[in-house]
Every structure is written in structure tokens, then in C-alpha cells.
């Protein structure tokens, strides 16, 4: 009989309790995932901490991803939890250069949830999946007591086939590579913040939730060999994604701050609330690092897809300062752009 040895490594997680910051996608989330969860479940695939895990099946590279959706309110301008669950899962596959094959979804429902609400979310999932050309092939339903699940939570699993023409690897970035952003940032996070109704603010703004596969696909068709890395900057925003990119490399990123596009309503809300738009969540954008000589073609490819017209090059990989993201403004002022710390909270004055 084999005696199983404990798999536990020493966890590097000293926090005594879980707090909201651990779910905000910033430094605390990283510490939880890598320090505690990663220390027990450690394996070479998990250790990449990528958006999707790529496993080899009979010579084909298959990308798999799982995601959980706990958004409140369930419906918000521009989308709802059902649509978000489908697009969010597909986008994790897309930025791993994987064409989606199928999705699964688990619905955790709260007793007392109106059937009509559930029905409209299932319909939203169906529409989003149909638009993206994938099927939701299975899942599970569970019901919990009233007051335990904000109406409903959705947990998803997605599977896709990795495009063999592209090698997504943060370690492959080189000084001079350009950073491509698919469109204006912050719309989702600010829309949700305002939709909660806790702030006395209103704005003409909708979530940017959408599948990014059409853009990624066009990008790969045009210049597959020039694409080095991709990420959808969801929780923690563009700042956190770029910091995650550089921390495993010997290089840094310079961001041309005046070039980063955002709607006036996002900018205004961030100015008012003291938030950095670079930390605000997006649900329909992606970042790509492309080789300098492919940058113009990459930009043209993304701009050529409907909805990608506002794509722009927002920065470049630099040799210095190492493992940091630096913002440079129009008059040469610089600042460090760090990962999100805690949950974005409004400031007072």
C-alpha cells in the first residue's frame, strides 16, 4: 500500500483571514493564489498562473480555463451576469490564443430568486454563446438559502484549441516590443460601481463586455509570429496585467499615459473618486505585446475588425527599469504604475 505524503509546501500567506482585497485582482489576490493555493496544488502548468492552462492531448494543445462570476447587481448597463460569464470565459481562452470549443456552466442560485431573473440570465448566456459560435455543453445547478448568494452566482469552465502559429510567453518579450490595447479602458468597472447606486453619481456609460476573439483572431492571421503575449485586463485593470507581465521578465514597460484611451465618463468618475483608471476592470479589451516590426500591422489588423477602431499602441517594453511599469506623460513627468493594492476605494478630498 502506498502511503501518500503530504503535498504541502510552506505556504507564503500570512494573512489571518480572507478579505475583499483578496478577490480584487491585485497584489492580495496574487498572494492568495500563489502563496496559499499554489503551494498545495503546485505543478508545472499551474505554476505559469496564466489566464488559461494549456495541456497537450494527443499532440494538440488544448487550453482550459475556469471562472467565477459574483457580480452585483446582476444586470447593469450594457450587460448582465450571464453574458459576462460567457464572454469572460471565452476571453481567457482568446488571450491564450485558443479558439473556443465549448463551455460549461454551474449556476448557484439563491432561494427566492425570481424565475424570470434566472430565465433572462440563461437567455443572455445562450445569446452570448451563439454570437461567439460555441455551445454550453454541460454544467450543474445548486440552490442555497435565501440571502447567501446575491441572487445568483455563475461558475464556468471553457475549453479551446490553441493556435499553433502563436507562442504566448511573457519570457519572450524584448526591449522595443510595443504594447497594443484594443480600446478604451475602465468602462466595465465604473459602470458596475455606479450601478450599485451607493454613490450619488450617474453617467452615460455601459459595460464593455464582449468577446475579444474576433480581434485576437485577426491579429494572429495578420502577424502571428510577432505576437509575444496577450492578456485581458479584467480585475486590477491594465496596470495589474502589465505588472504581471514584467515581474517574470528582466524588462520593464513604459506606458505613454496620454495615449491610453478612455471615455470621458470613466475619466471623470475616476478623477472624482480618486481612482486610477489603469486599475479599473475591463471585460471586453485585451492587451498584446507585439514585436516592433509587426506593430503597425498588428494595429491595422485589430482596427480592421468592427469595434476595434480605437485600438492603439500605448507603450513599449524597455530594458530599464526592470520589472516595473512606468508612466510617462506629455511633458516628460514619470511615475511608477503599480499593481492594484486592496479594493479601489473612493477618497474624500
Amino acid at each position: 500500500m502506498t502511503v501518500l505524503q503530504p503535498v504541502r509546501k510552506t505556504p507564503h500567506f500570512a494573512d489571518t483571514q480572507i478579505e475583499m482585497a483578496h478577490g480584487a485582482g491585485g497584489i492580495a489576490s496574487r498572494r492568495l493564489v500563489e502563496g496559499l493555493i499554489g503551494s498545495y496544488l503546485s505543478n508545472p502548468i499551474l505554476q505559469t498562473f496564466a489566464d488559461a492552462a494549456t495541456i497537450s492531448v494527443n499532440g494538440s494543445n488544448v487550453a482550459t480555463t475556469a471562472d467565477g462570476f459574483v457580480v452585483k447587481p446582476l444586470r447593469f448597463p450594457g450587460g448582465s451576469i450571464g453574458e459576462l460569464a460567457v464572454n469572460g470565459t471565452l476571453n481567457d481562452l482568446a488571450v491564450s490564443a485558443a479558439k473556443p470549443i465549448a463551455l460549461m456552466a454551474t449556476l448557484i442560485l439563491e432561494a427566492g430568486l425570481p424565475t424570470s431573473t434566472l430565465e433572462s440570465e440563461v437567455e443572455a448566456m445562450a445569446i452570448a454563446a451563439r454570437k461567439a459560435g460555441v455551445c454550453i455543453v454541460g454544467g450543474d445547478t445548486k440552490v442555497v438559502e435565501h440571502g447567501k448568494a446575491d441572487g445568483m452566482y455563475v461558475s464556468t469552465f471553457g475549453i479551446g484549441l490553441v493556435d499553433g502559429r502563436v507562442r504566448i510567453d511573457a519570457a519572450s518579450i524584448q526591449p522595443g516590443d510595443r504594447i497594443l490595447l484594443s480600446g478604451p479602458i475602465g468602462a466595465h468597472g465604473i459602470t458596475i460601481l455606479l450601478a450599485r447606486g451607493e454613490l450619488d453619481l450617474q453617467a452615460d456609460l455601459v459595460s464593455d463586455t464582449r468577446p475579444v476573439w474576433p480581434f485576437v483572431s485577426a491579429l494572429m492571421d495578420r502577424c502571428a509570429s510577432g505576437v509575444r503575449w496577450m492578456r485581458d485586463p479584467t480585475r486590477g485593470g491594465v496596470a495589474t496585467s502589465l505588472n504581471e507581465l514584467v515581474r517574470g521578465t528582466a524588462y520593464g514597460v513604459a506606458l505613454y499615459e496620454d495615449c491610453v484611451p478612455m471615455h470621458d465618463a470613466v475619466r471623470g468618475a475616476c478623477e472624482l473618486l480618486g481612482l486610477d483608471p489603469l486599475h479599473i476592470a475591463n471585460e471586453g479589451q485585451f492587451l498584446a505585446v507585439v514585436a516592433a516590426e509587426h506593430a503597425d500591422a498588428a494595429l491595422a489588423a485589430v482596427r480592421g475588425v468592427a469595434g476595434g477602431e480605437e485600438a492603439i499602441l500605448i507603450g513599449e517594453v524597455r530594458a530599464e527599469p526592470k520589472q516595473r511599469v512606468i508612466g510617462i506623460n506629455g511633458y516628460g513627468g514619470t511615475r511608477v504604475i503599480d499593481m492594484l493594492v486592496g479594493d479601489p476605494l473612493p477618497r474624500i478630498c
Binding site: I18, L345, P346, I348, C349
Partner: protein, 370 residues
Amino acid sequence: MKYVDEFRDAGIISGVAREIARTAKPSRLYRIMEVCGGHTHSIYRHGLRDVLPANIELVHGPGCPVCVLPTGRVDDGLAIAARENVILTCFGDMMRVPGTKGTPLELKARGADIRMVYSPLDALRIAASNPEKHVCFFAIGFETTAPSTALTILRAQELGVNNFSVFCNHVTIVPAMRAILDSPDMRIDGFVGPGHVSSITGCRPYEFIARDYGKPVVVSGFEPLDILESILLILRQLDAGEARVENQYKRIVPWEGNPPALMALARVFELRPYFEWRGLGFISQSALSIKPDFAGFDAEKLFNVPGVRVTDPRGAQCGEVLKGVLKPPQCKLFGTECNPEHPVGALMVSSEGACAAYYRYAMHASAVEA
């Protein structure tokens, strides 16, 4: 965006920066204190140090309300939150400020009902919709936020709300500036003066600084261009051997202040004989308490708060940083034990805290300088 883009225009900013470089005498060092945490934040956020000559040293001032709140007061506020049937409300800035037994966020995660509000009126609304609970507002801030607290108390009285109170920690900026001016290690040549505070108080309260201490004060806005223009105006005064109070932030600050707001303050608040400031110690007549007429809304009278004085954590040099004697990275705990995720002192927590601003935006500069 109007009132923002004009004040961040790269061409105009570069022009003012060149004018500053022309005006500053290379032979001397200029030490200019930006009084407000909002100024500090903006200076780092917009990389203004990169466009200033090396002989202009910017020194952070005491104008960050969260930073100057001593740990004992945080503990007192959290003791109220720990009571049965109490909802404690506070501004977002307070949520990560450490008390002895943790931050408001940590207490909330353990089950205390602590809610973030954007205005004290939101706290009053929470009281109206939770009649079975008592709702206490943890009030902090200088003259900028004190009028909204005063108006909320007046409104609560008008509506006859009897389940609402305020834990008052409002402070006033002038005594803190005077304490810094009287400090033996003071080496400040001029002040980038408070912006939003002055929209309430006006510019007259700073006249003693020019008159008695011979230091220029330029009341300043918070955009990059505001701050650079204010620095230029200070340099010009120093160059001409003058010391006056000037108002750079005319679009917001009337010279005489905001009389209705000042009247609301006078109606609801009175000066405390003394109040403890983190790092600066006890300063006489530097804080507001709620007048006896409104005792029913005064959390300090309703609840028996511990009122214990807690010494600052060992090794933390928040006081020296607040007085401008030390730069954040010169503190022994900076970036190691004390960082934005695990702040030891409040200067690392608030978005306006000098240490947080430095950590967040300028760590590359310190690496280069070191």
C-alpha cells in the same frame, strides 16, 4: 475634460517649468512645503519632480486628515463599531487605517457593520432606513469636510433623527502649520498653501505666516499646472525678498472664504482645548468638537469611548515625515515593514499620505537616487 485638460497641457506645463528654471537661483536651495496631501499626491501622480530643477526641494506637509489621526482615535472609533446594533460609517480613506486591533476593513471582514460612505448625508440616510440600529459617522478632515458634517448634524436635528451620531475628529490646518513653523528643525522657505480648505476659510488665516514668519504662502489648486504656477509665484516672492499670501486657486477659492459654510461650522462646532496629532503631538485649539446644544449627536458623549492614547508603532517615523524633516524612504520601516498593503502608519494608507504617494509613484526615483 474641462477644468482638467487645460491644467495638464504639456506645452503650457513645459513653459512654466522653463520659467521656474530661469527664476530659481542656482546658488541656493529652495525648500517648499506643499501643505495638502492632495498636493503631494498630485506631485507624484503627475511626475512633477521630473520637471523641477534639482535645487527646489518639495517637502510634504501635514494636510492629510487620515495621516494625522492618531491610533488612539482609530481605536476609539472602532470601539463604537464593536458595540451591539451599531453601524459605523466612514469615508473610504479610513477603511485601511490600522488601529491597535486591525483596520476597519479587517473588522468588517470579521463581521462588524462598517460601511463606506461618500458623504455624511449618506450616513444619515442609512440611519433613516435602519431605525432599529444606531448609525455613527466617523468624521475626519480639515475645514474642507467639516461643513458637510455640520450641515448633516443640523439636518439630523431638523428631521428629529434619534439614531444618528458623529464621532468628531475634525481638525483645523492653521495650528498645524504654526506648529511646524515653531518647530526647531523647521527649514521651509515657502508654502504651497491649502486649496480646498481655503475654499471654506479663505486666505486671511495664513496672513500671520507672511507677517510674523516672513514666509510666502500661495494658495494652490491641485492640477499639475496649479502647483507649478504656485511654485513659480513663491520663487518670485523669494527673489523679490517679499512674503505675502497669494491666491493661485481663484477659480475655487474666494479671498474671504465661504461665509455660509463658516456659519454652519460656528453653529455646530467649538474648538477643543487641545487635540493629539499623529507625529506632531498635542496641539492646542487645533480640532473641533460638537457643541453641547447638539450633544445628542455627539458619539463621544453617547458612548463611553476608551480614549486611550496609543504611542506610534516602534520604529515608525510618521511624525518626522509629517513635519517634513524626513523623506518617506528615510523612515526605517518604509517599504519593508510598512507598505501600502500592510501599513504601519497612516501615511502609507491614505491616497494622500506622503509615504503611499512616494511608494506608489516614485519608487523608481528612490532606486536611482540611492
